[in-house]
């Protein structure tokens, strides 16, 4: 069955733990950026990293479950347009970084550039397009307000995923043993 392969046990657990991390970082892990009312959310660095490590299904579901739980537990009610946008961001990053073999310790310059292009593309689609359009469709909010909010949030998330996500991925790659790293002694 195809469905069974897509959701391996490891992916299921990664979704669970990733969503729990999403909630905790959403609660404690936002850092003021210096611009009023705009925080750099470390959750989006986490989302990018987990999408890179565990694939598009994990990215999609961590975005969906993690963001829903975070909103529900912290604010009492999920803001569905942004929940869906998070899921889209996770999915796209996962899809575009599928061929990066980070589990084999491969995360050099080439992979860093690919990871960042993927996260910029994903965040752009999610926050510049999907989130504002869904805000208008679901909540009927004024267009210029939601597009401004989307622009700010998207830019902040790109910074979070680009700086923090990249550094975390490099650190993770260092903990893995590279393929073919053993040398035969003469």
């Amino acid at each position: 069955m195809a469905g069974r392969k897509a959701l391996s046990i490891k992916t299921i657990v990664a979704i669970g733990i990733g969503s729990a991390l999403f909630v905790i970082l959403g609660r404690f892990g936002s850092i003021p950026s210096g611009i009023p009312n705009t925080n750099i959310e470390t959750t989006y660095a986490l989302l990018a990293l987990f999408a890179l490590l565990y694939g598009p299904a994990a990215g999609l579901l961590i975005g969906l479950i993690g963001h829903t739980l975070k909103d529900a537990i912290l604010y009492g009610s999920p803001w569905f347009s942004w929940v869906i946008a998070s899921a889209i961001a996770g999915l796209i990053i996962g899809l575009l970084t599928r061929t990066i073999a980070i589990h084999d310790g491969e995360f050099g310059k080439k992979e860093i550039i690919r990871f960042n292009l993927a996260q910029i593309a994903a965040n752009a689609v999610a926050w510049f397009i999907a989130a504002p359009l869904l805000d208008i469709a679901i909540y009927a909010e004024p267009a210029n307000k939601v597009f401004t909010q989307g622009l700010i949030a998207g830019a902040a998330n790109m910074v979070a995923a680009g700086v923090i996500g990249t550094l975390l991925a490099i650190a993770y790659a260092k903990t893995r043993t590279k393929q073919g790293s053993l040398t035969k002694e003469a």
């Binding site: 299921i12 657990v13 003021p32 579901l61 210029n144």
Partner: protein, 276 residues
């Protein structure tokens, strides 16, 4: 530590006794209905109904007071933002214009805008009490069982269950790591400059995420050894069969959904216009 998150409250009330699945269905349909309608009359009735549900749930005010304050702040900011960005949105929607007072420049307060923002406020007021109530009256383990019951794949339901199970653990890890980092002078507040702040947050995130990845490996190995995912279905310890009240609750919400949809759309517009 003072409670800063919503949690399950263990009281004995009619709402607590409903099965998780019935509450989940009720809440989902309720949210969709409230999202769709902009009809003031429907929203007012729904709001009164949600207050009534709160009343019979026996949930204490102090259990959710802090969340309520957070919501109120967000709520006020959002309303100010809507007005700042689009002071005449109401005029655009209702197609008429009755000025109240001219403020400055393009900012004129109109009755239409007030009515539009009143409707947005009502929408929040309808959804939020039900969401709070759902969270505070549903046992987390029963919640995953009910997700499976309403049709989600049990693997996804299990992911949600894992997330709920590990939120307290990860919160404790985060606090331990961040306190020990602070003891060594690593600051992530406004007092540090931005590049330094980013560097410091990485010093906290790194151990947290690396231990979490290790934890994922451990849990998935344990689940694999116990044969998780071998069968098409699984049973849940906390699953309960539907009782009479569950059917009544689902009947009520079906009625509400149909009525709001009908009242909202029978004149062809999502908005209830008092200015015509």
């Amino acid at each position: 530590m003072r409670a800063t998150m919503l949690a399950y409250t263990n009281h004995d009330s009619g709402i607590h006794r409903l099965t998780g699945a019935a509450k989940l269905i009720f809440f989902a349909v309720w949210s969709v209905s409230a999202m769709i309608t902009y009809d003031t009359r429907c929203l007012l009735v729904l709001f009164l109904f949600s207050l009534f549900a709160f009343k019979i749930s026996k949930v204490q005010f102090q259990d959710y007071a802090f969340v309520l304050y957070l919501i109120l702040i967000f709520f006020v900011l959002n309303h100010i933002a809507i007005f700042l960005f689009s002071p005449l949105e109401g005029v655009r929607i209702y197609g008429t214009r009755h000025d109240v007072v001219h403020i400055a420049g393009r900012y004129t307060l109109t009755w239409e805008q007030l009515f539009y923002q009143f409707n947005i406020a009502l929408k929040y007021a309808v959804v939020i009490p039900m969401a709070l109530l759902f969270l505070m009256t549903t046992d987390p383990s029963e919640f995953s069982a009910s997700l499976n019951r309403v049709g989600f794949n049990y693997k996804i339901a299990y992911s949600v269950s894992l997330a709920l199970r590990y939120i307290p653990d990860i919160q404790r890890d985060y606090e331990n790591i961040s306190f020990s980092a602070q003891a060594r002078g690593i600051d992530i507040s406004r007092k540090e400059k931005l590049p330094r702040r980013l560097k410091n947050i990485i010093l906290i995130l790194m151990p947290l995420i690396l231990t979490s990845i290790e934890r994922i490996d451990k849990i998935s190995t344990a689940m694999e050894l116990r044969g998780f995912g071998q069968k098409e279905k699984r049973t849940w310890y906390r699953a309960r069969p539907f009782a009479r009240n569950d059917y009544i609750a689902i009947g009520i919400i079906a009625g509400i959904a149909v009525l709001t949809a009908w009242i909202t759309f029978y004149d062809g517009s999502r908005y209830y216009n008092i200015f015509k």
